[in-house]
Symmetry: C2
Subunit: 549 residues, 2 copies
C-alpha cells in the first residue's frame, strides 16, 4: 500500500535554489536537509542577513522529523537560530558541524533546548519512513557529508557540497564506493551540487595550495600572513603544516578565526602543539622569519584583522617591508572593491602580496563539469534535480544530465518552492509553495520588506527633505516660520540660499490657501518635488508635516 | 638655458592612478593627456559620476596649451563637459574619438565654443615647447593612440591604453616601428598602461572572438543577440561581419548602441550597407535564422535593452526558445550581481546563453604581462612611471621594470597628484598636488562630499525617525501631540504600537522639564536613540524638531 507520495521541495532562494534548505516529504513525515542563511545583495540596504521563508515548514511543523546538516558553512547552518524556535526538530550532523552549530546556538541562548545527534560517514539511521546513510564528501571544510535516503518509493541521493579531490588535506576521498553502490542498486533521484556547472574540467586539489604555500614560504624573508575564511579549517591546517615544515610557529588573529581554531583543536580537526602557537602579543616582537600568522579578512571585511592591518590599525600586528601576505580565497562577487582596496593598502605598507590572480593560493570546494559528470555516472539516477546553484547553473547542470542520457522529462530544473512529486507512475511537478526569503534586520524578522527597502534605496540616492508647517487651525495662517530638516540631499551648511528659497516657496503656496491638512500636504509635496528637482536635478524624499495648533 | 623643469603629474583617482588625466608641464606650459570620468564605487550612494579634482589645473589654466584624448572611452573623455568651462584649451583627437567627444559636448551645449583638432597616427604637432607625435595602438575601440612627446629635457612616451594584437579587427597593429625607433633615440621616461599587470602572458587577439562568433552562429537555430559595450565599435563590426557571412542581417537596439552605430557609420568606422540593417519593428517578425541583433546591456544595466528583454519588457524584441544570446563582455567588478540576474532571466525565457565563463566571447583591450615587458623592451626608458591602474597594478608593473634592468630609483610608483620632476641631474619626487576626485550629483559638482555621503549611508542602513514636538513658548507644555515621521526604519503600517510607545516616551521626557529648544532637542535625540535601539536593535537617524509657538 504505497499510495503515498514522495515529495521533494528545494527552499531558500535569493539567486540560488536549494542551497540553504531542501525538504524530503513522505506521507506525514518531513526531513529537512540544511538550514542556512543567504547574504544580502547590494541593493538590500541595511539588511543583516536573509533566511529561507519557512512558512511551509511551519505549517507542517508537526511532521518535521529531523534536520540534517551536510556541513558547517553559514549557508547551511546559519538559519538554525531563526528556525528552531518554530520547528524544534532533532538535528543530525558530524562532529565539526555540530561544534559550529553549538557555538551558534549557544550565542542565541538555544543550546539547552536543542537536540543534536552526532553522526559520521557510514552511519545509518532511521527517521520515520526514511532510512538514511551518510557518506563522506571532500569540500572546503572537514566533516562534510552527502546523504542517501531510502524511501518507500526508491533511493534519493543528495550530494551535499562536494568535489572529487584525490589528495585532500585530511586524506579522505569522496566516497566513490558507496556512490557506485547506490548507482548499482538504482537511484530514483539525484539532487546534486551545481555551484561550478560553469567551470570546465576538474577542480584542482587542495594539494596545489600546499605546493604554493611551500614555494612562498621558502622564499619569504620576513613574516608570513595567510588570510582565509575562518571556517576553512583544512586551509588553516595547511598553513600550520607548511609553517612547521619551514621552521615557523603560528599566530592566530581575528575573532572568528580564534574561536574556530580553538573549537576545531578541541575536536581534533586541527592538529598543533601548544608550543607551536604564538601568543598574539609576541607577533610583532619575534624574529620575523620564525612567524606565520593565520587571520581573517580575506573578503576585505571592514573590521577584520587583515583590513585593520592594511590600514595600520591593528593592535597586535603592524605590517612591515619584507612581510608577505597571502590571501587564500577568491573574492565573493560583490566583495571585489573591498578586496582590491585591501590589496592596494597592503602594498602601500610595503608588503609582498600573493593572491589568486598571481598564484594558485585557493581552490574551489565544488566539483567542476567533469566531476559533475562523474557523479552522474556513478549514481546513474532515473530522475535528476540539479540544486545548489543559480538558475543558469541548474540549466547547465541539467544539460550535462541530458548529454549523459537522462531523458529530458526526467530532469527538473526548478525554482525554489517548486514541489516535485513522485508516485508509482513516475515524477511530475506539483504545486509551488512559498520558496522565497525573509530579511533579518536587528531584532526584526520579516518586517523589512519591499516597501522599507524601496524607501532606503530612495534615501540612499537623494536623502530626504522635510518641511514642517504650523498653521492656525481656524484661519489656516502660518503661526511659525516653516522648518526644514534635510539630510543626504545637499550639504546643508552651504545650502542656506536654497533653504531660504524653499521656505519662501512654502509661504507662497500657503498664501494661495491651503485647504485641509491632507490637501495641503499633497500640494506641498508635489510642488516642492518639482521645485527642488529644477534647482538641483535631485529627487529627495519629500515629506511635509502640517500641524494645526 | 634649460634651468626649467619638466614635471609629470598623474591625476584622477578613485582606486586608479593616472588613467583619467595626466599633466605634462614644462616652464609656463601644460599639456593634458585625457580628461575622463570614474564610476562611483558602491558606497558612494546616489553619486552620478566622479571626475578628477581639477583644482591644480584651474590654478594653472592660463598655461594649459592643449588637451590630448588618447581614445574615446568615458574614462578618458567623459569629464570634458565639466572641465572645458574652466579650462577652454584646444583638444586633439583622432576621428572616432572626436566623433564621440562631439556627441558629448553637443548634449552639454558646449560644442560651439569647443576647439577640436583631428589628428591621426603619424601626425606631428607642436604645442608650446612640446613636439608631439601620435602613434597607433590596438585597444578595444578604434582610433586609439599613444603619444611621443619631445621635450627640452628628453622624450616622454605615453602608451595610452594598448595591447599588441597581431590580428586586430581593423588590421592595424600597435606601431612597433615607431616604438622601437623611440627606444633607439632614447626615451627619458615611459608612462605605460598597467591595467593588466596581474595577467600572465599575452592578451588574446580579437580574432579569438570572431572564431567564437563563427562557431556560435553556425549552430544557432534561431535569432542571435550579441550584447556588448556601445563604445566597442570593432566588436560591433565583428558581429556584422559574422552575421553577413552566415546569411543574417543586423538589427541595432539600445539608445547608446544606436547613437554610436550611426556616428561610427558616418565616419566610416563601421561598414555595413543599408540593405543589411533591419528596422527594429521587424526584429520580432522576420524568420529567426535571418536575424542578428547587437544591443546594450552587457553589464546588466537596469534599463538597458538586454535587461528589458530578459524581463519580457522590451518593445521590439521578445526572447523565445531557440534564441541565442551572447554576452560579449566581462562584468566590471561591482556589476556581477546584475549580470548574473540577467543571465538567469535569459535562461528562464528559454534562450541559449553564451558568456565569458562558457566560451571566449570577449578579450581584454589591455596588454598582459609579457606585452608590458615588450613595451619596456621596445622603448628602453631611462625612467619609468607605471600609470593607468590601481596601486597594486603599478607595483607589479614597476617590478617588471626592475626585472628588466631599470634601476629601482628610476621607477616611480606614485599616487595621484604626486609630481615627478625632471631636471638635468635626473628625476625626483616633488610636491603633491590635489590629486583626488570630486562627486557629480545632478547639477551639483563637489557639493556632495563625505558628510552628505555619510548621511546617505546611515539612511540606507536604518532610515530616519523624526519627531516633531510643538511646545508653548512660555510654559514649555506640549500644545500638540508629538508627530512622528519615519521611513526606511520599520514598516510603519505595522508599527503603530512602536510609534505609540515612542510618543509616550516623548511625553514622559517633556514632562520632566525641557529647557530651551536646543537642550530639549539633544535630550530627545539621546533618549530616543537608546529607546529605539533597545526596541529594534536598529539605529535610525534621529532628528527631533522642537517648535515653540
Amino acid at each position: 500500500m504505497t499510495s503515498k507520495k514522495l515529495r521533494i521541495v528545494p527552499l531558500g532562494g535569493l539567486g540560488e535554489i536549494g542551497r540553504n534548505m531542501t525538504l524530503i516529504e513522505y506521507g506525514e513525515n518531513i526531513i529537512v536537509i540544511d538550514c542556512g542563511i543567504m547574504f544580502p545583495e547590494s541593493h538590500m540596504l541595511g539588511v543583516d542577513l536573509v533566511i529561507p521563508n519557512t512558512e511551509y515548514l511551519i505549517e507542517n511543523k508537526n511532521i518535521v522529523r529531523g534536520i540534517i546538516l551536510t556541513h558547517g558553512h553559514e549557508d547551511h547552518i546559519g538559519a538554525l537560530p531563526y528556525v528552531l524556535g518554530d520547528v524544534p526538530a532533532p538535528m543530525y550532523a558530524t562532529g565539526l558541524t555540530r561544534g559550529l552549530i553549538e557555538v551558534k546556538l549557544e550565542e542565541a541562548g538555544l543550546l539547552q533546548s536543542a537536540d543534536i545527534n552526532t553522526v559520521e560517514p557510514g552511519d545509518r539511521i532511521n527517521i520515520g519512513p526514511f532510512r538514511l546513510e551518510f557518506f563522506h564528501v571532500s569540500h572546503s571544510i572537514p566533516g562534510a557529508i552527502g546523504i542517501a535516503i531510502d524511501t518507500p518509493l526508491g533511493l534519493i541521493v543528495h550530494t551535499g557540497e562536494y568535489k572529487f579531490d584525490y589528495t585532500p588535506v585530511d586524506g579522505q576521498l569522496t566516497d566513490f564506493q558507496r556512490l557506485a553502490d547506490y548507482g548499482g542498486r538504482g537511484v530514483l533521484c539525484l539532487l546534486a551540487d551545481s555551484t561550478n556547472a560553469e567551470k570546465p574540467g576538474y577542480t584542482q586539489s587542495e594539494q596545489i595550495v600546499s605546493e604554493t604555500f611551500d614555494r612562498v614560504f621558502s622564499r619569504a624573508p620576513g613574516r608570513i600572513l595567510v588570510s582565509t575564511f575562518a571556517s576553512n579549517i583544512s586551509r588553516v591546517q595547511q598553513v600550520i603544516d607548511t609553517a612547521l615544515r619551514h621552521g615557523r610557529r603560528i599566530g592566530v588573529v581575528g575573532r572568528s578565526m580564534v574561536n574556530n581554531f580553538k573549537m576545531a583543536r578541541q575536536l581534533g580537526y586541527i592538529q598543533i602543539s601548544d608550543a607551536d602557537v604564538i601568543p598574539r602579543e609576541k607577533l610583532d616582537h619575534l624574529p620575523p622569519e620564525e612567524v606565520a600568522i593565520v587571520c581573517t579578512g580575506s573578503q576585505g571585511e571592514p573590521f577584520s584583522a587583515l583590513v585593520r592591518m592594511s590600514n595600520r590599525d591593528h593592535r597586535w600586528v603592524t605590517i612591515h617591508d619584507g612581510d608577505t601576505v597571502i590571501l587564500s580565497a577568491t573574492p565573493i562577487p560583490g566583495n571585489e572593491e573591498l578586496v582590491h582596496a585591501t590589496l592596494n593598502n597592503l602594498y602601500r605598507q610595503g608588503a609582498t602580496v600573493i593572491y589568486h590572480q598571481l598564484e594558485p593560493v585557493h581552490v574551489s570546494g565544488h566539483a567542476g563539469r567533469e566531476e559533475l559528470k562523474m557523479m552522474l555516472g556513478l549514481t546513474q539516477p532515473k530522475y535528476f534535480i540539479p540544486v545548489q546553484g543559480e538558475y543558469r547553473h541548474l540549466v547547465l547542470h541539467g544539460e550535462l544530465g541530458r548529454e549523459m542520457g537522462i531523458p529530458k522529462d526526467n530532469i527538473f530544473v526548478i525554482e525554489s518552492g517548486q514541489v516535485v512529486e513522485f508516485d508509482e507512475d513516475g515524477a511530475h511537478l506539483a504545486e509551488q509553495v512559498a520558496g522565497n526569503y525573509v530579511f533579518v534586520d536587528g531584532l526584526g524578522i520579516g518586517d523589512v520588506g519591499q516597501i522599507v527597502l524601496r524607501d532606503r534605496q530612495h534615501l540612499a540616492r537623494d536623502g530626504f527633505f522635510i518641511v514642517v508647517v504650523t498653521v492656525d487651525y481656524e484661519t489656516g495662517d502660518l503661526v511659525h516660520e516653516p522648518e526644514v530638516v534635510s539630510r543626504g540631499f545637499v550639504f546643508m551648511r552651504d545650502a542656506d540660499a536654497l533653504v531660504e528659497r524653499t521656505k519662501n516657496r512654502v509661504v507662497e503656496i500657503l498664501s494661495n490657501g491651503g485647504g485641509n491638512p491632507e490637501a495641503l500636504n499633497a500640494k506641498l509635496r508635489a510642488d516642492l518635488s518639482r521645485f527642488l528637482y529644477n534647482e538641483t536635478r535631485r529627487r529627495p524624499m519629500i515629506l511635509p508635516v502640517v500641524l494645526e495648533v
